[in-house]
């Protein structure tokens, strides 16, 4: 039928827009950012901690370190809570309660990041300043806030991974006389391992890309943080803080910061994809 062919072609065009958008983003970010990296020198750009745009010095090492620190911190906090949530909701809580709590986790994902940042600044930061010392605006504060923010991402993927484990595995373990907890640690977590790892990696991708909440609680100082209580500036906050007034080489250097971020995220996503692919491959094997 002719009309059907037209519709199919139209839909194909529409369907390609996601790829087209992604390509457009990549091209434009790299076109703006890469030349300045080459101009400054790859070594100097990535391995210098000297960021002073007014003097034309563009070294982003301290921000790379800062981003990695808060991301690892966030993952450490996020993983413990998310795993507990996912295990409780899939294994130990009554089904009715789980069904009621899952949308609440969705809600946690829906709260604007500025709100997280703000609540962090007015409640968490003074606590850290008072009890642990330092300025309060710190790696620790950013890690905790980000840890809470990535909870929904890790939890929902972890729940999917746990639910994908065949029931027969669990039943077999119980039938052999294991307790439910032994079944969880010895069978469930092992069977779902690659899915859980993918969940954590994707959560880290969320954390490293988060901007507004981090700006508010991290302190944004330009030094490499020497402790968990020191303030820190991440790649994302560097872009958001300076984009407003940047021009010329400075603006290009901010795009280059974006290129760096983009590369790290792509690396993380590819890793997550590779890990979850492996899981699929394993299942299919007899």
């Amino acid at each position: 039928m002719k009309r059907d062919g037209v519709i199919r072609a139209l839909l194909l065009g529409v369907a390609l827009s996601a790829i087209f958008g992604l390509a457009l983003i990549t091209v434009f970010i790299f076109r703006e950012g890469v030349p300045i990296i080459l101009h400054v020198g790859v070594r100097k750009f990535f391995l210098s901690t000297d960021w002073d745009p007014s003097l034309g010095r563009f070294g982003i090492l301290s921000m790379v370190v800062g981003s990695l620190m808060v991301t690892v911190g966030a993952a450490a906090i996020g993983v413990v809570f998310s795993l507990a949530l996912a295990i409780v909701l899939t294994q130990f809580s009554p089904p009715g309660l789980s069904a009621a709590l899952k949308p609440v986790i969705e809600l946690l994902a829906g709260i604007p990041s500025v709100v997280y940042g703000f609540v962090g600044v007015v409640t968490l930061v003074p606590l850290i300043r008072h009890w642990l010392g330092g300025p309060g605006l710190s790696v620790l504060a950013a890690s905790i806030v980000l840890g809470v923010m990535i909870l929904p991402t890790i939890t929902s993927i972890a729940i999917d991974a746990l639910e994908a484990v065949p029931r027969s595995y669990l039943e077999g373990s119980i039938a052999l006389g294991a307790t439910r907890w032994q079944t969880v640690t010895m069978v469930l977590l092992r069977a779902a391992r690659s899915g859980l790892i993918a969940a954590v990696i994707l959560g880290m991708g969320r954390a490293i890309g988060e901007t507004m909440a981090v700006i508010m609680v991290a302190g944004n100082a330009l030094d490499v943080p020497h402790s968990l209580l020191a303030p820190v500036r991440t790649l994302t906050s560097n872009i958001a803080l300076e984009m407003g007034y940047a021009s010329g080489d400075h603006r290009k250097a901010l795009f280059a910061t974006g290129v760096t971020l983009f590369a790290i995220i792509t690396l993380l996503n590819t890793a997550a994809l590779a890990v979850s692919r492996r899981r699929v491959g394993k299942r299919r094997a007899p």
Partner: protein, 277 residues
């Protein structure tokens, strides 16, 4: 330690962590609403801000938020649903579908600040739209597209095959089947995704800051700059302009998000009930 004792301790500990998580969520919501709700008045919602937001209300920001987010979802929804229809109804699984899915997954992983940078250099500068409602909406549309694609595809795939067979058997064309049968029964699931995307674009700050700007006047056209609620809240609180107004703005934001999430949940329930029938 005996296995049963260990189980009790471990499970107790995990319930505690679960409890803490929900307590934190409740605390965040309560903290904002308790401080903010008393400052929300009719005048606050319907007046323009004065002296940088120290006084007056947030009316232009409400309009700006509705325009930017509404337009974003309006643009992304047909594209997202169209992609989902193509992926699930019009083609076989193959290299092309996995490429499209891969592209959509990658797009979902791009951080919002990168969308902001892109929107700034592409829509605002290269296409000459400036910092405007339209630049912001187009950027956000791209950002929520993967969510709409994924949720729509899931909803469409859950429509039983017998529906399609009946429609085709009655002489319906493929398009008629898709439009009158498949899409109609997948509608609640698709709407859930769209509503959640609307919530996400309302919450977004970083991308909007770089593309829609922070103008405080009521936008008169799509090419005017417009400050959204989330950005207004950020600027009020970060620059210490007015704490009461910041709390009140955040409360409006939170109420909107709560309402949208509730709507999404209700739609999903409707879908689940329908599917189980």
């Amino acid at each position: 330690m005996k296995p049963m004792v260990r189980q009790r301790l471990a499970v107790g500990f995990m319930w505690m962590l679960t409890g803490i998580t929900f307590a934190v969520l409740l605390f965040i919501l309560a903290f904002i609403l308790v401080h903010g709700l008393p400052h929300i008045t009719w005048a606050f919602l319907t007046q323009s801000p004065a002296s940088m937001g120290r006084q007056g209300g947030i009316f232009p920001m409400i309009v700006g938020t509705v325009l930017v987010s509404g337009l974003a979802v309006l643009l992304a929804a047909p594209i997202g649903v169209g992609t989902a229809v193509y992926l699930s109804e019009y083609t076989r699984e193959g290299r092309l579908t996995s490429a499209i899915r891969f592209g959509s997954d990658c797009l979902a992983g791009v951080p919002s600040i990168i969308f902001g940078l892109f929107g700034f250099v592409f829509f605002a500068i290269t296409l000459g739209m400036g910092l405007s409602v339209l630049s912001g909406a187009l950027t956000l549309a791209l950002m929520v597209l993967p969510t709409i694609i994924r949720t729509s595809e899931e909803a469409i795939r859950r429509v039983p095959n017998s529906y399609r067979e009946v429609s085709l058997g009655l002489g319906g064309t493929r398009w008629q089947t898709v439009f009158y049968v498949v899409l109609r029964s997948a509608l609640p699931g698709i709407s859930t995704g769209i509503v959640l995307s609307l919530g996400r674009s309302i919450s977004e700050t970083a991308a909007v800051m770089l593309t829609a700007g922070s103008g405080m006047r009521l936008p008169r056209s799509l090419f005017d700059s417009s400050r959204t609620l989330a950005l207004h809240f950020y600027l009020l609180s970060r620059e210490g302009i007015s704490m009461p107004n910041a709390y009140a703005t955040a409360s409006v934001l939170i109420i909107a998000i709560l309402a949208l999430n509730f709507l999404a949940y209700a739609l999903m329930r409707k879908f689940a009930v329908k599917a189980s029938r």
